[in-house]
């Protein structure tokens, strides 16, 4: 075994990402500003390559490959998330390009950071050791802190960065403390060992409980679950829109991936405990997220609350996985979580893309009121937004409905029909604020006093990607079979 040759081969896509990141960073100083697009395309190309590689891995032999002394495991579960992450990162880069130019923060490092954050996420989704999970999380977070503050000329961007950083450090401290206790419990940070230790020691140990709660708190912060969500609106609002999209989508997906891995693979023995814990958190999340989202006037902030709410729905699926004692043993719940996040990613990305495209007198149009009359000015953009909003609200035949469908189906199977009912009632509440955007776009006339709005900030590639996103949102709504079977197949990892 010459220096982990097989391990490296298993991690080839990740390596490509990292290498591309380094190349981009290295090339940045010697690339003239006018040619900086090339860096973006280079990154997109690398991502496409990774996507292809991972897809190939899946098609050839979708089995678990443990690498680097069992610190990471490339399995079907990880590959699902990787596919998702590669795609959303690619989309993010495409939608960033015109946006960054318009905001005059088109830096080559930007792509480097995105790729490095992505590599952190990739580590997270395939890590089976708390150490690697922690490091992946930190890699992702630190990149995001920086990217949040990238638009330094705007005080909001920096303020968001500072808040994100302070609270992020705080939460990772909490997470780490929990990890240290788990280590003290099992003598190892490997999830498998922890599961074993919990199996032998029972669940009554105070250390176990404290550790579980601390880890839950640390992850809940990343997932933006109430009451650990409060950074989300501020950061989402302050960060450059493309980064907000990236955070709302990729970081959430990766965090959920790691989160599920930790709680199912590592703390699976504590199902009964943590399912109640997350049950409460999910209800809180749904209630607070929806209710507060109603009164938002800034669309990014509104989408931040929306992302909180969607985390709540995903948690419902997760709780269902924890509660599912039937023959299926929680797999429907986990599969539903994966389906949900995949769909959520594309609809949210789409919504942010439209926001990023919208300018108001050269500035970003962020207030919901800025959308007034969009249907008249930019019918296509308005229609796209309509589709994304409908999907976020979970109205068939969009994919958002399919997402909710599986989550609540899993909840009902797990005997949580009442939870599904509560959650769905709040889904009706959520329709209010999504539909308000539609209302403003379609039913209000543009404010006559405002500056004549310039055209949309877009590019052919972005148009293409958006078209794909809309098509995806509708097609997955109509024909969810591929996604569903992919998720079901991936979740078999936990059987």
């Amino acid at each position: 075994m010459s220096l982990y040759g097989t391990d490296l081969l298993a991690l080839l896509p990740e390596l490509i990402v990292v290498v591309t990141a380094c190349v981009v960073i290295a090339l940045d100083p010697i690339t003239p500003a006018s040619r900086r697009d090339l860096l973006a395309w280079l990154s997109v190309g690398a991502l496409a390559l990774c996507l292809g590689l991972t897809g190939w891995q899946i098609s050839v032999e979708n089995v678990r490959v443990s690498a680097f002394s069992d610190l990471v495991a490339i399995d079907a579960y990880a590959r699902f998330w990787k596919i998702l992450l590669y795609s959303v990162t690619g989309v993010t880069i495409v939608l960033s390009l015109p946006y960054l130019k318009a905001e005059r923060i088109h830096l080559g490092e930007y792509y480097g950071f995105i790729l490095l954050a992505l590599s952190g996420m990739l580590v997270m989704v395939s890590a089976v050791d708390l150490l690697t999970i922690y490091l992946g999380t930190e890699l992702m977070s630190i990149s995001l802190y920086v990217m949040t503050g990238l638009n330094r000329s705007k005080p909001r961007s920096l303020e968001a960065s500072a808040k994100y950083f302070v609270l992020g450090a705080f939460s990772s401290g909490i997470l780490l403390y929990g990890i240290s206790l788990l280590y003290g419990l099992a003598g190892s940070t490997k999830l498998a060992s922890i599961a074993g230790a919990i199996g032998t020691r029972g669940t009554d140990d105070p250390l176990v409980l404290i550790a579980t709660i601390l880890i839950a708190v640390g992850f809940s912060f990343k997932l933006a679950a109430v009451p650990f969500h409060m950074w989300t609106p501020d950061v989402y609002q302050g960060a450059p829109t493309s980064i907000t999209a990236f955070m709302a989508v990729a970081s959430k997906a990766a965090s959920f991936a790691a989160f599920i891995r930790v709680f199912v693979e590592g703390l699976g023995g504590l199902k009964a405990d943590w399912s109640i814990l997350f049950l409460i958190i999910s209800i809180l999340t749904l209630v607070l997220g929806n209710v507060v989202a109603i009164v938002q006037t800034n669309i990014k902030r509104m989408l931040a609350y929306s992302s909180i709410v969607h985390a709540g729905y995903v948690l419902v699926g997760f709780v269902a996985a924890g509660r599912g004692d039937g023959a299926s043993g929680g797999t429907p719940g986990l599969a539903s979580v994966m389906i949900y996040l995949a769909i959520y990613s594309f609809m949210t990305l789409g919504a942010f893309a439209v926001i990023g495209m919208l300018r108001k007198g050269g500035m970003e149009g962020e207030e919901i009121e800025d959308f007034a009359g969009l249907a008249k000015r930019q019918p296509l953009a308005a229609f796209l937004m309509l589709v994304f909003m409908a999907s976020l609200a979970g109205i068939p035949p969009t994919a958002g409905f399919i997402a909710k469908f599986y989550v609540f189906m899993a909840a009902v199977e797990a005997g949580l029909a009442w939870l599904a009912a509560v959650a769905l009632i709040f889904a009706a509440v959520s329709a209010y604020y999504y539909m308000r955007v539609v209302m403003v776009m379609y039913m209000r006339d543009p404010n006559p006093s405002s500056v004549a709005p310039p055209g949309l900030v877009t590019s052919p590639a972005l148009s293409f990607v958006l078209a794909c996103a809309v098509a995806g949102v509708i097609l997955f709504g109509l024909f969810p079979n591929p996604l569903v079977s992919f998720a079901l197949q991936s979740v078999l990892t936990f059987k």
Binding site: A375, I395, P397, V412, A420, I425, V438, M439, F479, N481
Partner: protein, 519 residues
């Protein structure tokens, strides 16, 4: 019976294709495209009337294609004697909606027509779906188009009305979704409506499911305490929107009760019958009484819809053949009659730009044809014998009578009230002297408007004088529904976690006896 030709898919696809075509055509041809699409749909649907075999209770024109593998969901369509009239009514009303919007809609015509066409697809889908999830998808797919129809092309207070409509109906149907899932797990892991109708569910569970169904369907109908979205939505919607809303959308609630609540949850249905009947009667009387107080034409008709739909729910929940057939017929009737009334209001609104009764007086002199139509629709609405509504109401009352005489008596009072508010409306709008201020704008119907109204009038009298063809197509299906309601009571161990037995169940009360077989 399977039919090789995919009639129903064609019905669904045609309007949708029209809607998609809207994005490629100029604004000016949008109307023609929409008209062509709806008329083509009508042409496709009409043969079904004759192809339909009234001798069987089986679903006809069925299509069954796998849609989602896990859980098994099928693209499953079919019609029986209950859904056939509703589908035909839908495709019949839609061209009229397009025609009614011909001049009324001047902005974003393409969008408008596209929304109308999408609505058509969704509504046909609701009536034709044989898979619960498919049904739900169609059911919900209507929300956004309707929301836009009200919100974009509606009246002054349209934003409020649109969002109210949207949220109200959405909140109700969310609970339905949960119920669908529960049905899935208890009903043998299937979403097939026919299979679920044969399933057995623990009594306690049935109660909960019934309530969840009720939340969705009662809002849509709308039944008594959930009706307040209707006046707002009706008043603010454009004419075509009001017509679609009143004629077709409201029927989906009652259709839901009939297709799902009754056959799937027979015990709960029987248990809740008294409550449902009382609510229906309240709706009949209350809606009519409220209509009496209205000064806005559309609001008046909206409240009258509440009242008329009360008859439909009343007929459904007396659980006998006459009641249910009357209810189905009354659904169709209400679609025709109230659709006509809304079209009339739309026509006058185009002229005077007011829906207030006080602004539209004395139309008989300047607009005799219009007045004639309005009076005919009003008479139909008040259930004059010889018009369609009488037949429906009569059947419902016949059905109700064997359930409770007092209920029938009280419900009949609604007919008196209906005469009062409608004739009072006619007296104010049609009779009297028009205000000279409006006189120049009050020209009589043009050909397009005439063509819009005539089919409805013909239907009114056809059903009024010869209802048997339409009613006889329902017999088998209704009998079948009732038969499935009387199937074996449930084994309490249908599901591991279903501990509840049936203490809440009423014993087979004399009044609840199912008619049709043994009297």
């Amino acid at each position: 019976m399977t039919n090789s030709f995919p009639w129903l898919s064609l019905l669904l696809v045609l309007p949708l294709a029209g809607a998609i075509a809207m994005s490629f055509v100029p604004e000016s041809t949008a109307r023609w495209i929409a008209l062509a699409a709806t008329l083509a749909d009508l042409c496709v649907a009409l043969p079904l009337w004759w192809l339909f075999d009234p001798q069987t209770s089986q679903m006809q024109f069925t299509e069954h294609v796998a849609w989602i593998n896990a859980p098994p969901i099928y693209y499953s369509l079919g019609l029986d004697g209950i859904s056939l009239p509703l589908v035909l009514m839908t495709v019949g009303i839609m061209p009229l909606c397009v025609l009614a919007s011909w001049n009324a809609i001047t902005t974003r015509v393409r969008g408008f027509m596209a929304m109308v066409l999408v609505m058509e697809t969704a509504m046909i889908g609701v009536f034709a779906a044989l898979d619960f999830v498919l049904f739900y998808v169609f059911w919900e797919a209507m929300l956004i188009p309707m929301y836009l129809l009200i919100g974009v092309w509606g009246g002054a207070n349209r934003l409020y009305a649109a969002i109210k409509f949207f949220l109200y109906t959405l909140a109700g149907s969310m609970l339905l979704l949960v119920a669908i899932f529960v049905m899935y797990y208890y009903g043998g892991h299937t979403f097939d409506i026919l299979a679920l109708s044969q399933g057995t569910y623990p009594a306690q569970l049935q109660m909960w499911l019934f309530l969840a169904f009720f939340a969705a369907f009662a809002v849509k109908v709308p039944m008594f305490p959930f009706h307040t979205w209707l006046p707002d939505a009706h008043v603010e919607a454009p004419t075509a929107g009001s017509v679609i809303l009143a004629s077709i959308l409201l029927k989906m609630g009652t259709y839901g009760f009939l297709r799902f609540s009754l056959p799937m949850l027979p015990d709960a249905s029987r248990f809740f019958t008294p409550i449902m009947v009382v609510l229906s009667i309240i709706a009949i009387i209350y809606g009519a009484y409220m209509a009496l107080a209205q000064v806005d034409l559309k609001k008046l008709i909206a409240y009258s819809s509440v009242s008329h739909m009360g008859f439909v729910t009343l007929g459904l929940f007396v659980l006998n053949q006459q009641g249910i057939e009357g209810a189905v017929l009354q659904m169709v009737n209400h679609g025709i009659t109230t659709g006509g009334l809304f079209l009339c209001v739309g026509i006058i609104y185009e002229r005077t730009h007011s829906r207030l009764i006080a602004d539209n007086v004395g139309l008989a002199a300047p607009m005799p044809q219009y007045a004639t139509f309005l009076v005919i629709f009003a008479l139909s609405s008040l259930g004059l014998p010889g018009t369609n509504s009488f037949v429906g109401e009569f059947l419902v009352l016949v059905g109700t009578f064997s359930w409770s005489k007092i209920a029938t008596a009280v419900a009949s009072l609604g007919i008196i009230l209906a005469a009062t508010y409608l004739l009072w409306m006619v007296q104010r709008v049609v009779f009297g002297v028009p205000s000279p201020h409006h006189l120049p704008t009050l020209r009589d119907l043009d050909q397009r408007e005439f063509v819009t109204l005539v089919p409805l009038v013909l239907l009114i009298f056809w059903i009024g004088f010869y209802p048997n063809p339409i009613v006889s197509r329902m017999h088998e299906s209704v009998t079948n529904t009732l038969a499935s309601m009387s199937r074996e009571k449930v084994a309490p161990t249908a599901h591991p976690s279903a501990g509840g037995t049936a203490p809440l169940l009423v014993d087979s009360d004399e009044q609840l006896e199912i008619q049709g077989g043994s009297r």
